[in-house]
Symmetry: C2
């Protein structure tokens, strides 16, 4: 069975670990979000790709969900001692090595997809991990300049755009987001292998990743959405919203920014029946099933809290079973 998964960071990575456990013989291709990539200290950092790679490769900091296990912070301490920031972005020494190699390979002319493959040669994630695009896409969030903690750069409506990482890590998503801009997405092309994997897929899954800045950004790369609908195979999503709140992260803030209610049903409608065949909501949102079905999307309520690998595996089994049903 060939499975394609559109993944963001922690939620996507944990779901994928469950999927591998639920379908050990499946051929899994992960199309990774790169909209949260950021250049820090002259280095190219790909948080979502690395979270997937480290999680599936056994190197992730388990409790934190991102970054490396047994991490140290000597480089970052030194950068701070030199007065070189940003201070708000934590990078560990082991993690730095990944970014140093990636940056060196970019300078040598390799595309991000080839670099990701080279890094995965060490981690052996057990999936094929492909960035959504080799082109530079950077998601920015429009906020009120007065909320930014910095006087610089407001437009004439008093708004300014900050990098998604700055919104999330420095501002803790604590101020209203007025818009989400996947800068560069319109001009980007899917990375080699992305459209081919979608065309050959038996099932396509949207894990409980952020529907706006993770899965939504992947879908903003021209050609990917079209390839998914053209594939003619079941597309099953899992709600990242449980009981009207995101399981983790800032999906609620991002949904509000794009005018979508932070409910499991509204997220399904946002993806739309043109894209989704089935939608899994948590059992606490069982009342939403009828509403999702009214929107023309199959729906089922199952437990969606990834408390451990087995819980994630059970979610993956439910998604695959739902796909079989949809297909039948």
């Amino acid at each position: 069975m060939r499975i394609v998964v559109l993944a963001g960071g922690i939620g996507g990575a944990r779901f994928l670990r469950g999927l591998k456990s639920a379908a050990p013989d499946a051929d899994i291709t992960v199309i990774g979000n790169t909209g949260d990539d950021i250049h820090l200290f002259g280095l190219k950092v790909c948080p979502d790709l690395d979270t997937v790679m480290y999680t599936l490769g056994g190197g992730v900091h388990e409790e934190q969900g991102w970054g490396r296990a047994e991490e140290t912070f000597a480089v970052k301490e030194e950068l701070t001692a030199y007065g070189v920031g940003p201070e708000w972005f934590s990078l560990g020494d082991r993690d730095f090595a990944t970014h140093i190699i990636r940056t060196q390979m970019i300078a040598a002319g390799y595309p991000l997809s080839a670099i990701t493959e080279a890094l995965c040669a060490r981690w052996q994630p057990g999936v094929r991990l492909i960035p959504m695009t080799d082109d530079r896409v950077e998601t920015h969030v429009v906020i009120s300049a007065s909320d930014s903690g910095s006087a610089a750069g407001p437009d004439d409506r008093g708004r300014k755009a900050v990098h998604l990482q700055e919104y999330w890590v420095r501002l803790h998503a604590s101020v209203p987001a007025h818009a989400v801009l996947p800068v560069g997405a319109e001009q980007s092309k899917p990375a080699p292998g992305v459209l081919e994997a979608i065309a050959k897929a038996d099932v396509i899954l949207f894990p409980p990743s952020n529907p706006v800045v993770s899965v939504g950004t992947i879908l903003a790369v021209p050609g990917i959405r079209e390839a998914i609908t053209a594939a003619g195979v079941p597309v099953i999503g899992l709600s990242p919203i449980v009981g009207n709140a995101p399981v983790r992260g800032m999906a609620d803030k991002m949904l509000t920014a794009v005018g979508v209610e932070a409910t499991a049903a509204a997220v399904a409608a946002h993806y739309s029946s043109a894209l989704l065949d089935g939608w899994l909501v948590d059992t606490v949102d069982a009342a939403a099933v009828g509403k999702v079905e009214e929107a023309g999307i199959g729906c089922r309520a199952v437990p969606l809290m990834m408390t451990d690998v087995e819980a994630a595996a059970q979610m993956a089994r439910e998604a695959l079973a739902f796909a079989s049903e949809v297909r039948a």
Copy 2:
């Protein structure tokens, strides 16, 4: 008193620490060798500049003489785990931060001299440290290909050039050097401030650094040698060779490569009376004093082992006293 010092790495840095102690009120400009700079992991590494900066700034690994005190090696271990080399070059986590900042600033368009000044703003070395040039100069050593431990790249005489760092760190200077090539030196220009500092100097010192690949490389930057002779002030050197062997490093190997005997007297003659007014040899080489004087260079035998800061300070005092005498 304005003192200009042409410095390599460890020997230069330790002498400078002594000089600062001996002449705390002096205005000291250090012209640093950059011929041993190397690009590693996509980062610009300047070993000699950093050794001076860390030593005078109190951050050096004392016993080792280079690199940072209380250093850790997580980044390097990770790079090795990824299979990314070279393995033979040790870089600590704290040291990596310096190279990351330098590389980021180079990418942003800053010249090495401005970057060095920015890094020194943290270290406060108590001297003005200027790289000999902002241009890229890389010293290569010509060896027999059969000695290189690698089949790649011999010319039709069976020789190949390796980076100075590779010769020293990987090959431990254990194979014959046939020639020393300061690649790029001929096309380089002195960094801003270098010629001005020399022109304003009251005394110019050559510390016991490697006369070929440290001081010699600095002198290979067009304009520097001429500025020194034009300055018309005492130029005093300290022999890095004591008892026919280098105090440390590979001065003997490099001298042989350029056809100069590894003796205190031969090094003085190599610099020549056109450049040097005075030459300090170690007391064990007292017999060489006459020979140096015959070459038209003033000479005196004093202890030249930098066993501690006070010993280095005493050497600096001898050099400054000798300069006063020469001037008189």
